[in-house]
Amino acid sequence: MLLEIKNLHATVGGKEILKGIDLSIGEGEIHAVMGPNGAGKSTLGAVLTGRPGYEVTEGTVLFRGKDLLAMAPEERAWAGLFLSFQYPIEIPGVTITAFLKAAVNAKRKANGEEEMKTSDFLKLMKEKMAFVQMKPEFAKREVNVGFSGGEKKRNEIFQMALLDPMLSILDETDSGLDVDALKIVADGVNALRSPQKSAIIVTHYHKLLEYVQPDFVHVLKAGRIVKTGGRELIDAIETKGFDQF
């Protein structure tokens, strides 16, 4: 098992948002987590990546057999976890190149590898930018500063492609995207598919799931997974909404 969540409870500002999540993700699987606003979808991604302000009150999470909740956010990244943020953060004064070079080299250092040569890094970055159709000049821009909504999401997928995680969590990556941008995101996720790598696609919307075929679909409601199935659940949600669950 790549990820094993058992009876996960979490609070934000003293209020319980996750009320006992059980979810297992195997290698090479794509899981969709769907649910109405306020169900706890974003909280799940925040808790798994260790965002400050989210407190786990009960339950366990194993990632590749290790206690994920005991790890610092950066250690989770080194272990191969990635979150595509619903609202990517702007970092004034730090360029995308400096940001990602620091990220790539920190992971290599943690794995006992040498720093990547700058020329190799720039080549890798160029290749991945082309893949998500980001203009090369973005490399010199400050992280997310002045980016449109679509550019920010594309930048998330670019980072995902560059960092090459074992498990990617896409938090509402499809919201606010036009069809072209949606296809780029979908291509990014599909290209990442391999027998080992997995993804959790969090969405309240079926559109992205037309381009990325999930193996499992889960319905998250009021902090619990209330239903698990296959593609047929997407159609059921599309026609009758979340009230049926």
């Binding site: 990244a77 004064g93 940001f99 980072q159």
Partner: protein
């Protein structure tokens, strides 16, 4: 006094004549307590003054920065940009005054003082002041005292950048407008020591 290499001496009175330009830059490194007092008089039309400064504190340093920028003639320009980071039990005071004399029309005067406080025990007190006696002027001042941005730190850490490195990146970007040319490596090392 050992400040020679920091470009500007810690105390100075400067009279800038018509058409001349004064550039001052100062750096207060961790471990140094300093009183920095500048009085600048812009004496003739077209005189310009630019002051850039940064301070870094990590223990119980006391840093006092007092700047008086006096626009005494028309058509003079001045800018002041002072950024600093206070850790430990540092005690930092900034008092910056811009005075625009009655006949100093077409004055452009700007002053910014931004501070990051790293600990609950560090204290920063900033007092920007404008005294304007002319009517055709462009003046602005801004002062902030804040902390490192938690959202930015988390975003960097979620990409695998260790917390200490994320903090360093954020502090360097905050200081970048005031780092004197050629001293980048020295300032970076000082920031890492905070």
């Amino acid at each position: 006094m050992g400040h020679g290499k920091y470009i500007a001496p810690p105390k100075g009175e400067y009279q800038v004549q018509a058409g001349e330009k004064l550039e001052l830059s100062f750096v207060v490194l961790p471990g140094e307590s300093r009183d920095i007092t500048y009085t600048v008089d812009l004496m003739g039309p077209g005189a310009e003054a630019q002051i850039k400064g940064l301070y870094l504190c990590r223990a119980d340093e006391k840093v006092n920065i007092r700047i008086l920028m006096h626009h005494r003639a028309p058509d003079c320009h001045s800018t002041q940009l002072i950024n600093g980071i206070a850790g430990g039990q540092a005690d930092v005071h900034f008092a910056g005054t811009i005075v625009v004399a009655p006949d100093a029309q077409q004055t452009e005067a700007f002053q910014e003082n931004h501070n990051i406080v790293l600990t609950e025990t560090a204290k920063v007190d900033t007092k920007p002041q404008l005294e304007i006696y002319a009517d055709d002027v462009k003046c602005s001042h801004g002062a902030t005292v804040g902390q490192l941005n938690e959202d930015e730190l988390f975003y960097m850490r979620s990409r695998g950048i260790p917390e200490a490195e994320a903090r360093t990146l954020q502090m360097l970007s905050f200081l970048s407008p005031v780092i004197p040319e050629g001293r980048e490596a020295e300032i970076e090392a000082a920031v890492r020591s905070l």
